[in-house]
C-alpha cells in the first residue's frame, strides 16, 4: 500500500513551497489586484524557467514528461500562495486538455509552446447558469462557432482557448476572426475574467468527443481540488498564526474554545479534503475505474473545506480581517471562484451519487 506522494514529489513540493514563499508571498496577488494587470509576468517567467509549464508535456515535445502526481503537488502549492499567474488556466487546465483531447497536430503545435512559455492557454467552459458538460448554447457548423462563454479566466493572457460544446472540445485561437474578448468583473479581483463572444469564429475540433470532455472535467476537478486544498490550508494556517498572537481579555484568542474548536473543524475538513484529493490523484495516475467518483468526491470535499476556512478566517481575525488591507479577502474571494468555475458543489454532489448508484464500493467507506 502506497497512498502517499513519492519522495521525489515531496522534494518538488519543498522546492516549490520555498520558491513561492520567497517569490510569491501575497503581496504579489495584491500588486496584481491594485495594478489591474492580467498577471505577474516576471513571476510567470520564473515559473516557466523552473520547468513547471513543461512538467506534463512529453519529452519528445520539449517537456519533462512527469506524472500527474507532480502536477497535483504544484497545484496545491500555487493554491496556497495565491500566485497571480495563469498556472491554473494554462498548466492545470489547457495543457491537460490538450494531453487528453488534443489531436496529434494540435499537440505538436501547442504543447512545445506551452512548455517553453511562449504560449499561454485558457479554457472556456462556462455559459451562464449551465453546468460544465451540460447543454451548451454554442452553435458550431462548418468549423465555425457562434455564442458566448463567460467567465473565462486569464483570457487576456491567453494565446488560444479550449472551449466546450455539446459534442466535445474545440480549440480556438485568439487571433481568430469573429472572436471578441470583453472584460467581466467577478468577485475575484486577482484572477481576471472575460467574456468571449464568438460570431462565426473558426474553431478546430479536438479528439474524443464528449467522452474526452468528460475525462477532462474529471481531471480538472481533481487538479482544482488540490488548488483549493492549498488555499484552505493556507487560510487555516493564517488563522492559527493570528490566534496564537492576538490577545483579548488577557489571553491569546487561540486559547478560547470558540476559536480553537473552529480551527479544529477547519483541520477536520481540510484533512477530509486532502484524503479525497489523494484518492483523486491515485485515480488519475492509474486511470482507475473509480476516477469519476474520486473526481467528484475530491471536488465536493475541497469546495466545502475552502469555503469554511475562508469564511471563518475572516471571522477569527475580527475587524482587521474585513479590511481591504488584510489578505483574508483573497481567500474569501478565491474560494468562491473555485467553487463556481467548474460546476457547483450541488452539481458534483449529484455526480457523486450518480457514480455510487452505478458501482459497488472498491472498499468499505
Amino acid at each position: 500500500m502506497n497512498f502517499q506522494f513519492s519522495d521525489e514529489a515531496e522534494a518538488l513540493r519543498d522546492q516549490a513551497r520555498r520558491f513561492l514563499e520567497d517569490k510569491s508571498d501575497r503581496t504579489k496577488a495584491r500588486a496584481v489586484m491594485n495594478s489591474g494587470s492580467s498577471h505577474d509576468a516576471a513571476l510567470w517567467a520564473e515559473i516557466v524557467a523552473l520547468g513547471w509549464t513543461a512538467l506534463r508535456v512529453p519529452e519528445e515535445l520539449g517537456g519533462l514528461g512527469l506524472s500527474v502526481l507532480e502536477l497535483c503537488v504544484l497545484a496545491e502549492e500555487v493554491g496556497r500562495a495565491l500566485s497571480p499567474v495563469p498556472f491554473t488556466s494554462s498548466v492545470l487546465l489547457a495543457t491537460e486538455a490538450l494531453l487528453i483531447a488534443g489531436t496529434d497536430a494540435q499537440k505538436a503545435k501547442w504543447l512545445p509552446k506551452l512548455a517553453d512559455g511562449s504560449a499561454i492557454g485558457a479554457v472556456a467552459l462556462a455559459e451562464g447558469t449551465a453546468v460544465p458538460g451540460g447543454k451548451s448554447k454554442l452553435s458550431i457548423a462548418g468549423g465555425q462557432a457562434s455564442g458566448q462563454k463567460a467567465p473565462v479566466a486569464d483570457a487576456h493572457s491567453a494565446d488560444f482557448f479550449i472551449i466546450s460544446a455539446n459534442d466535445g472540445l474545440y480549440l480556438l485561437e485568439k487571433s481568430a476572426a469573429g472572436l471578441t474578448i470583453g472584460d467581466v468583473e467577478t468577485i475575484d479581483l486577482v484572477r481576471r475574467s472575460s467574456r468571449l463572444t464568438l460570431s462565426n469564429a473558426p474553431v478546430e475540433a479536438m479528439a474524443g468527443g464528449r467522452e474526452a470532455l468528460e475525462r477532462f472535467l474529471q481531471s480538472a476537478a481533481i487538479l482544482l481540488a488540490f488548488e483549493g486544498l492549498g488555499g484552505a490550508d493556507a487560510a487555516m494556517e493564517m488563522s492559527v498564526t493570528y490566534a496564537k498572537d492576538r490577545v483579548a481579555f488577557g489571553r491569546k484568542i487561540g486559547g478560547y474554545q470558540a476559536v480553537k474548536h473552529r480551527l479544529a473543524d477547519m483541520y477536520i475538513k481540510n484533512q477530509l479534503a486532502r484524503s479525497h484529493a489523494y484518492y483523486g490523484a491515485w485515480a488519475l495516475l492509474t486511470n482507475a475505474p473509480e476516477l469519476p467518483l474520486a473526481a467528484a468526491g475530491a471536488r465536493v470535499a475541497a469546495i466545502d473545506a475552502y469555503q469554511f476556512a475562508a469564511e471563518e478566517n475572516v471571522q477569527l481575525h475580527g475587524g482587521i480581517g474585513f479590511t481591504w488591507e488584510s489578505d483574508c479577502q483573497f481567500f474569501y474571494r478565491r474560494a468562491r471562484t473555485l467553487a463556481l468555475s467548474l460546476g457547483s458543489k450541488t452539481h458534483w454532489s449529484d455526480r457523486v451519487v450518480r457514480n455510487l448508484e452505478q458501482r459497488n464500493m472498491p472498499f468499505a467507506a
Partner: protein, 406 residues
C-alpha cells in the same frame, strides 16, 4: 393577539403619517454614493423633524425631548423607513452619543451647548471606542488621557469609528490610570473632531466601502468640563452608551436581499432537471432562510409588543444580529451557487444576484461589527442563561501589568 395598533398608537401613527405626507416632497432618499449631497439631504430632513418635534421622542422633556414612549419612537421609525428618509448620519450621534452627554455631562451648560444643536442636525457626532488592540475586549484600550491643569491631553489611536470623517464632535474613552485593573482606569470625554492633533483616515473594507475610520490623537487637548462621568468611571459610562447601541443594531440591513428575492432568482434559473425553484434542496434552503429571517422579524414583534403593553422586553432580541448576519452569508453563498459560473460575475443579468453577491461580502463584516458571533454567544450564555463567565487573567491586575500578558 393582534398586529394592530392600539387606539393611542393608531392616533400617533396617523399624526406622524400626516406630517410625513406633508413633508415628504422634501425627502431625498438615503443615498450612500454621493457624500456631500447625502449630507445636505440628511441635514435638511433632520431640521424639519426637529421643528416638528420628532427628535428625541423618548428623551426627557428637560433635555428638549418629547417625553414619549418607546412605541412612539418605533412608530415614527417605521413610517420614516417607508419613505426611505435619510437618517444614517445621525444614528450614532443621536442614538448613542447625545444620550450619554445628557446623562453623564458634568453641567447644564454642557447639555445646553451640545444637545439642541445636535438634535437640529447642525452638528454630527461619532463614537470613539474600539482600538487596534481593543476590539471585542473593549476595556483593553490604550489611548491615554493625562491631566494638565484644567485640561486633559489625549494621545493614541482609535479604529472602526463610523462617520468620523463627517463628524464635528465625538465621545472618546481613554485610559487615565494604567496602575489599576483594566476596567477601572478609564474616563470618557467629549472631543472636538476639528481640534488640532485629531487626524481621521478612512479604512477601506473588504467590500470596497469606507464607512469606518482610524482616528489618531496627538496631544489633543480637552477641557475637564468636557468629561463625561467621574474620572475612572469610563467603563460604566461606556456600558450605558453600548446599551443604546445594542438596541439600535440587529435588524437586517436594508440592502440585504431576503427569501422573496431568493425565490425570484431561483425561478429565473432553468436547469436540465427543470426549474431551480422545484429542486428540493433549493426549497429546503429557502425555508431555512425564511425561518431565520422571518423568525427575527417576529422576534422583534415580540419585543415591540412588550413595549406596547408597557412591559420590559425579554432578552430575546439578543439573538438578532447573529442570526441575520449568518443567514446573509449562507444565502449569499447559496444564491451564487445556484447561478453556477454566472454567480461569479458582477452585474450579471439575473434577478437580485448583485445584491446577493454584495450580501455575501458584507455579511463577513456584519458577523464581526458591533459584537462578533463569539461575543454575542458569550453574552447570551452568560447574561441570559446565567452560565459562568470566561476566565479573564487580566481582570484584577493593573492594566500596565496586564498588557505584558500579551
Amino acid at each position: 393577539m393582534d398586529f394592530e395598533d392600539t387606539a393611542e398608537e393608531a392616533a400617533y401613527r396617523a399624526k406622524v403619517r400626516e406630517w410625513i405626507n406633508a413633508n415628504k416632497a422634501s425627502i431625498r432618499a438615503e443615498d450612500h454614493s454621493s457624500r456631500a449631497e447625502a449630507v445636505t439631504a440628511a441635514k435638511a430632513w433632520q431640521a424639519l423633524k426637529y421643528e416638528a418635534g420628532y427628535v428625541g421622542i423618548t428623551w426627557p422633556k428637560a433635555v428638549g425631548g418629547q417625553g414619549g414612549t418607546a412605541m412612539q419612537q418605533i412608530i415614527f421609525n417605521q413610517e420614516e423607513a417607508k419613505v426611505n428618509a435619510p437618517t444614517g448620519l445621525y444614528a450614532i450621534g443621536l442614538g448613542m452619543c447625545i444620550p450619554t452627554v445628557f446623562s453623564h455631562g458634568l453641567s447644564p451648560d454642557i447639555a445646553a451647548r451640545y444637545v439642541p444643536v445636535a438634535m437640529k442636525g447642525e452638528e454630527v457626532w461619532c463614537q470613539l471606542f474600539s482600538e487596534p488592540a481593543a476590539g471585542s475586549d473593549l476595556a483593553g484600550i490604550r489611548t491615554r488621557a493625562e491631566p494638565d491643569g484644567d485640561e486633559w491631553v489625549i494621545n493614541g489611536q482609535k479604529v472602526w469609528t463610523s462617520g468620523a470623517h463627517l463628524s464635528d464632535f465625538g465621545i472618546v474613552v481613554t485610559r487615565t490610570d494604567p496602575s489599576v485593573p483594566k476596567h477601572k482606569g478609564l474616563t470618557m470625554f467629549i472631543v472636538d473632531m476639528k481640534a488640532p492633533g485629531v487626524e481621521v483616515r478612512p479604512i477601506k473594507q473588504m467590500s470596497g466601502g469606507s464607512e469606518f475610520n482610524e482616528v489618531f490623537f496627538t496631544d489633543v487637548r480637552v477641557k475637564d468640563t468636557h468629561r463625561l462621568g467621574a474620572v475612572g468611571e469610563g467603563w460604566k459610562v461606556s456600558l450605558t452608551t453600548l446599551m443604546h447601541e445594542r438596541l439600535a443594531v440587529g435588524g437586517k440591513p436594508a440592502s440585504a436581499p431576503g427569501v422573496q428575492e431568493m425565490i425570484e432568482l431561483a425561478k429565473a434559473i432553468d436547469l436540465e432537471e427543470g426549474n431551480a425553484l422545484e429542486q428540493s434542496h433549493v426549497r429546503n434552503q429557502i425555508a431555512e432562510a425564511y425561518i431565520n429571517d422571518r423568525g427575527i422579524a417576529l422576534t422583534r414583534m415580540r419585543t415591540i409588543s412588550a413595549l406596547s403593553s408597557g412591559r420590559t422586553p425579554g432578552p430575546e432580541s439578543s439573538i438578532s444580529k447573529i442570526v441575520v448576519a449568518n443567514t446573509m452569508q449562507d444565502m449569499g453563498a447559496f444564491a451564487s451557487d445556484l447561478c453556477e459560473s454566472a454567480g461569479l460575475i458582477s452585474g450579471e443579468n439575473l434577478p437580485h444576484l448583485a445584491r446577493f453577491q454584495g450580501s455575501y461580502i458584507g455579511s463577513a463584516g456584519l458577523r464581526i461589527a458591533g459584537g462578533t458571533d463569539e461575543i454575542l454567544r458569550n453574552i447570551i450564555a452568560e447574561r441570559v442563561l446565567g452560565l459562568p463567565s470566561d476566565i479573564r487573567p487580566d481582570k484584577d491586575i493593573p492594566f500596565s501589568e496586564a498588557t505584558r500578558l500579551s
